[in-house]
Symmetry: C2
Subunit: 435 residues, 2 copies
Amino acid sequence: MVPHLTTSLTGPLHEIERIVLDQRPEIERWFRTQWQEQEVPFYASVDLRNSGFKLAPVDTNLFPGGFNNLNPEFLPLCVHAAMSAVSRVCPDTRRFLLVPENHTRNLNYLQNVAMLRRILEGAGLTVRIGSLIPDLQGPTEVETAGGEKLLLEPIQRRGNRVGVEGFDPCAVLLNNDLSAGVPSLLRGIEQPVIPPLAAGWSTRRKSHHFHCYDRVVEDFAKLLGLDPWFLNPAFSQCGKVNFAEKEGEECLAANVEFVLNEVREKYKQYAITEEPFCIVKADAGTYGMGIMTVKSVDDVRNLNRKTRNKMAVIKEGQPVHEVIIQEGVHTFESVDGAVAEPVVYMMDTFVVGGFYRVHTSRGVDENLNSPGASFVPLAFETNCHTPDCLGKPGDPPNRFYTYGVVARLANLAAAVEVRQLVERESALEVRAANG
Amino acid sequence: MVPHLTTSLTGPLHEIERIVLDQRPEIERWFRTQWQEQEVPFYASVDLRNSGFKLAPVDTNLFPGGFNNLNPEFLPLCVHAAMSAVSRVCPDTRRFLLVPENHTRNLNYLQNVAMLRRILEGAGLTVRIGSLIPDLQGPTEVETAGGEKLLLEPIQRRGNRVGVEGFDPCAVLLNNDLSAGVPSLLRGIEQPVIPPLAAGWSTRRKSHHFHCYDRVVEDFAKLLGLDPWFLNPAFSQCGKVNFAEKEGEECLAANVEFVLNEVREKYKQYAITEEPFCIVKADAGTYGMGIMTVKSVDDVRNLNRKTRNKMAVIKEGQPVHEVIIQEGVHTFESVDGAVAEPVVYMMDTFVVGGFYRVHTSRGVDENLNSPGASFVPLAFETNCHTPDCLGKPGDPPNRFYTYGVVARLANLAAAVEVRQLVERESALEVRAANG
């Protein structure tokens, strides 16, 4: 279930929303049984796009920043969910080492770290912040956008355990997506690392995530008697691209053609008159870097230098060699006239909040996760604020519920994906040990 | 952990509060490990009394009404907790039969039923309301205080299952405390009954609950290095009392003397200058009936007719033969000048809200659960409402946290108590089958 939140949509319910709302008990029962079989990620955020005729996840973040962008009224929900997550992962634990990203000048990101610490402390944990910054000389205090103080401490390794000075944590919570690779400091430690190291961007691939999502959404769509395409963006991938050297253009063109054709067919089937488009993005990466909108095969042939440079390198200077070509989903939501897409936050099996990512200078078919984006926290629905009006005729349906359902489908896919990543890593380790 | 709520206290933190707040991580870890061993009740509410020097539960309700008195902002917390409870009790379930009390003219109680239904529906269940009203002819619509409609349907038994017309639930959730005994309709059914039938007032005893609480609080106080008395009201019991026939007065007098002496000793030890008192109440019962304040042995000798009548019979006309004599805990909290006591609501392992029970015509040493009481829902703490000020100096400590801790101790005692009740019932059934 999902808190009753405001959405920017005010028109009549779309078909997908109505089907989902009508089948809530069946859907919740289904999720309960799924979570008996899969280990739910500690936390995750999912970027959604809602075009009215289609509602789909376009990115699932296993190291979510942006907790500072949630409405502070959601803190108790986060804390409850964190309690649940903690008792699942390590009931005996009370000391957590939180490992954030290295960028200390992004004060909003640091505010996210402060919020996370607050949530974990609320769940009854003692939290210290262990930094992976290579040249960090000693405990270093930084100030967040909200004026809170954070003490970043160098992570120390002692044998098979890590900690910070005078603090031996029972678990390590990563809020660092390991784009620069898995640091040797964290390899082979005996404390649980959450999410597992294999879920970092040095081994994770978006295309793998969406392969897992394919299967999850197929089962789910069967339950609802729905074409899974309504909840699932078509995609393909290219494994050998070098934008700087103009290599792999043919692969890219062929796959763009493949995805666009698939979308054209579906648009025809459902008499949708919008113009199909694709999003090409780095298969391993985040932060809205290395992303472009493509409307025809010509768009990926003869890329100009500027675009090639933009696509060639992403976070932490990592070169892009693999890309995912994903069906573009228009967003037909807007906040104050600006294009908006919902981002949903989850901890454990719970939806704990969300916000709209809003961009005043982007179109309905563009990536909004780019400089200039702002965030509008979702609030609890306030049309009906007294117990008296709950359940009365006219009580607004929980539109946000559907977003929470789709976000949880992506979370379920992430659970399958992470399990497979961990299994593959174990298999590789066994092979290395035997070789 | 406990949401950050307002309390009516504004002075400096009392000693107990400071000790509890200082040891949050240790306390939360302790609760997590306790809930691995004990099956947490689906829901419960706990009446607390806070005298500053002492903070103790005085009553634990396993069939809580009053969900309508919670702040509607707490609904998402309740729904999350209910999801957790449901996935624990019966993950495959999606149809719940909610069995309320029989009083259809208490519109506020009916509003509580409507809120419960809403919470369960929010958790993704299909809910129908099965009534135990003996002469209910067919589905009967009633209107709640909030103007919501409830359809009360006669419970039907088919073999070893119960349901309502066309509805075979997977579980039965009791919001009826079975004061009138266990209805044969519900005996021996194969669906899980929550809480178990043995937890109803025909077998449950307050003194048994507080025996269990003794042990829970002893462990907990050891953890904190605290005298358990600070969290625990002394008590005793009399098993053969008949107020109407003036029987058992000697037992009552002796036990009042015993409890008062224990309290006097503790007051002396801690230099407390208040006047000790006891509360005498029916050992099996609720709704604030059959309760009196006693300040000396003389108060229970030569009871006048009015008091004897008041004490003789409680809810559903049940005669009182067993009483608990409990140390009285002054309440030093007030709301708008009226005497107040906090009531804390829990679902699963979570604190989901609470309210102050307020009485304008009662004293600090009297039972407030009596006609004329009103309810002031607790709100989230709003001194600090933006993420910017979270964690800044001056950020108010979560005073309500301590209430949540003591309420959860009572909930833990209830878990032990219910397990023992169920075990005893099973043993009796086995003996009956063998005899």
